[in-house]
């Protein structure tokens, strides 16, 4: 048969034979869902149950911080601000003084933070932790900048480490 004799408008019959059973199956699925309790959580009245590793807010344990700046360097958004100064402690036994960095300012701007968690991952001395708290919206952009004290306060909400798998 020549090409131009073929009726190109005729769509090939590829539709599978329908028995109508699929339609009933679909109806049973929706009915089953209607009879099950819905999964909606009525948020302001009802707190959502969040998994323990939820990335809500980052807490700072100041005592563990050595001011290595790793977190602020790795932060993709540059939202961690760290100021520190050096102090020299004279050992009681005499000899050369040991210099240490002391944290003056540690702040995270949650208006910039994208909750990637790289700072928590990269911290070599376990000074940063994820907390599942999330209710810290503000009406002013500037108030999203959490200073050291506020970041310390979040520490109370950090859940204990999950059990290791055996």
């Amino acid at each position: 048969m020549a090409l131009d004799e073929r009726d190109v408008r005729q769509a090939p019959e590829v539709e599978p034979k329908s028995t109508g059973l699929g339609l009933l199956k679909g109806l049973s699925v929706t009915l089953k869902h209607a009879l099950r309790p819905s999964i909606t959580q009525q948020y302001p009245q009802e707190k959502p149950d969040l998994p323990p590793r939820t990335r809500g807010v980052i807490a700072l344990k100041e005592a563990n911080c050595t001011v290595c700046y790793k977190c602020s360097r790795e932060c993709p958004d540059w939202c961690i601000y760290i100021d520190a100064h050096k102090e020299t402690h004279e050992p009681a036994s005499g000899g050369k003084g040991r210099s240490m960095k002391v944290l003056d300012r540690f702040a995270i701007d949650y208006a910039l933070c994208m909750y990637c968690g790289i700072c928590v991952e990269v911290c070599p001395f376990d000074a940063l932790f994820w907390s599942p708290e999330y209710e810290y919206a503000e009406t002013q952009m500037g108030e999203m900048l959490h200073d050291m004290d506020r970041l310390q306060d979040w520490l109370e909400t950090v859940p204990p480490d999950p059990e290791l798998e055996k």
């Binding site: 339609l23 679909g26 109806l27 699925v29 929706t30 009915l31 869902h33 209607a34 099950r36 819905s38 999964i39 909606t40 009525q42």
Partner: protein
């Protein structure tokens, strides 16, 4: 006053012509404004639960029962925008043309052998005639909007209603042949022995599918397919006029569910051994059950393609409906 069956309850209350007329009009209007709210609320809730959601929960405090009232108030507050290029008069008249037929349809729906407005001798004929008027309203809306989405939607609606009017009428015709009357009450009374759903189950299926298409309800919602043509013929409508579209949609569900229950489910007739439940409640229960089915189908099936839609009607429903009429005719003559 002694209740007389076969006489409308309004005629039993009053004697003056105008009083009767005004009361009847008021009853129809109030029913038309209230019943769609019930179905609309049911759609919110049923659809939500079928999708594992809760649906409206705040309006009116208890499970969002006042959601549709709140929606109504919102629609009234909206600005009534008429596009600059639109044909103002046709654009503004269209909502009335697609709304009024559904109001008029309730005139012939019986809720018992004395709770009805009019017992027209040509009841079902009137229903079929008046439902086809809505498409003119949709065409007017689509044409007058000066918007290509509206026009495509209106033409789709017209093609769809022409295709599905036929199985709807043929399905009803088979019932009329079996009942031997066009009157809605007559058809109900003819089902004293058994519901016509038992003798004509295929007819019931045809009628329900055709009603869905007639109402442009999913899975036959191509005229308003929001993922393709915004909102079809109603794209340019805002505020109260848009609310009229929604009212007509839900009013249409109630209307066609009521017609289907009269034709196939014995209307206000109770099930055997359950006569203690009053007749109007049976009618409401049947309308409710069919409305639930319509919502259920919406939650389950995706939209058909335009050509599939036409194929279903012309190649499946209409031949089946013609076959049904033939069988009923043969049996009617033979028995």
């Amino acid at each position: 006053m002694i209740a007389q069956s076969g006489v409308s309850f309004v005629n039993q209350w009053f004697d003056q012509y105008w009083l009767v007329l005004i009361t009847k009009a008021a009853i129809v209007l109030i029913f038309f404004l209230v019943a769609p709210l019930g179905v609309g609320y049911a759609e919110h809730k049923v659809l939500a639960h079928m999708q594992a959601r809760l649906g409206p929960m705040y309006a009116g405090r208890f499970h969002g029962w006042a959601q549709l009232l709140a929606d109504g108030v919102k629609f009234v507050q909206k600005e009534d925008v008429i596009p600059a290029a639109a044909d103002r008069w046709v654009f503004s008249l269209a909502p009335a043309v697609w709304l009024v037929p559904y109001i008029a349809l309730f005139v012939v729906i019986p809720f018992s052998d004395e709770i009805f407005i009019l017992n027209l001798d040509v009841g079902i004929f009137f229903v079929m005639a008046i439902t086809s008027v809505t498409v003119i309203g949709v065409l007017m809306a689509g044409w007058a909007s000066a918007n290509k989405f509206s026009l495509i939607g209106a033409l789709r609606a017209a093609a769809q209603l022409i295709a599905y009017e036929l199985p709807l009428v043929l399905g009803a015709a088979a019932i009329v042949m079996q009942a031997g009357t066009l009157s809605m009450i007559g058809i109900v009374e003819a089902q004293q022995q058994y519901w016509f759903a038992i003798s004509q189950p295929i007819g019931l299926g045809i009628f329900l599918v055709a009603s869905l298409a007639e109402l442009s309800r999913p899975p036959f919602d191509m005229p308003v397919a929001d993922s393709e043509i915004v909102f079809g013929a109603f794209t340019e409508y805002t505020g109260l006029k848009f609310a009229f579209y929604l009212l007509a949609e839900y009013g249409g569900i109630v209307a066609l569910a009521a017609v289907a229950s009269v034709l196939f489910l014995g209307g206000y007739l109770p099930l055997p051994a359950m006569e203690f439940i009053p007749e109007p409640l049976w009618m409401f229960a049947k309308i409710g059950a069919l409305s639930f089915l319509i919502i259920w189908l919406r939650a389950t099936f995706p939209r058909l393609r335009e050509d599939q839609l036409q194929r279903v009607s012309w190649l499946v429903l209409i031949p089946l409906a013609l076959l049904q009429i033939m069988v009923v005719g043969v049996l009617k003559v033979a028995i």
